[in-house]
Amino acid sequence: MLTLTIFLTSCAGVKELSIFKEEVKRQPLALEKPTPLQMEKIQWIIVTSENAEEVFKKMEEQGLDPVLFGLTDNDYQLIAKNFARIRNQLKIQNDIIDKYKDYYESEEETKE
């Protein structure tokens, strides 16, 4: 009986349950978004073999240097498409930044 008593009292104990929880949040980066672009207005001039003289004369009348930086019709199409692609990429990148900001920062605000 003594042996049994010692057995029961010393060995089989219930241990206290420990739950660890500690979360330290990183400081938000909070970078300001850049100011939206303000584009300059540009003027396209179509020059053909027929109107070239007239175009240059008009430019001189307007006090502009009679010189043009040219593109062929094919290259004009390509530059238009290139700009459209850059614009799309800019929009996508901007939206991704906004979505990340919404996802992480709005969650922190609701938790606080």
């Binding site: 939206p36 584009m39 396209w44 459209a84 996508i92």
Partner: protein, 156 residues
């Protein structure tokens, strides 16, 4: 002889009794600990439930964000296709047109260029004007990037 046996018996009984009392105390202490553990477990279960709910909310938000991004990418792709179509619609040759109708094409190109510049401003974060927001007709939209500039325009 009999006295010694009696003493041993009493000793055993006293020890047994003491052991029983000690065991009862231990059981009481264990019971308290189990109660405390049960309370902790319950609070842990509640926390886990909240965590699972938050995770579900996060997954839904991630799915919705991906959906929105895919929609945006598709719409932007359509804008590029529309631009390509404008240049090459029905074997259109913009070079020949420019030779034949220089002034008209020049005016069209300059208008389109202004619209494209505005598209760039919007893409970089410039807010939409009321006019852009309310545009629903083809004649009112920015034909270079309707998906960016005119959220209420439905192509027809």
């Amino acid at each position: 002889m009999f006295g010694t046996a009696k003493l041993i018996m009493v000793g055993i009984m006293v020890t047994g009794l003491a052991g029983g009392v000690a065991y009862t105390y231990k059981l009481k202490a264990d019971n308290e600990m189990l109660k405390a553990n049960a309370i902790k477990m319950e609070s842990a279960i509640d926390e886990q439930k909240t965590l699972i709910q938050n995770q579900k909310k996060d997954f839904a938000e991630i799915l919705e964000t991906n959906k929105q991004m895919n929609l945006l990418i598709n719409n932007l792709r359509k804008d590029i296709e529309a631009l390509d179509k404008r240049f090459n619609k029905k074997d259109r040759d913009i070079g020949k047109l420019a030779i034949e109708k220089s002034k008209v094409i020049e005016r069209i190109i300059n208008k389109a260029s202004d619209k494209a510049a505005r598209c760039m401003e919007i893409a970089s974060g410039s807010p939409l004007t009321e006019e852009e927001k309310n545009a629903t007709k083809k004649s009112e939209i920015n034909t270079e990037c309707p998906s960016l500039a005119n959220p209420n325009y439905i192509p027809y």
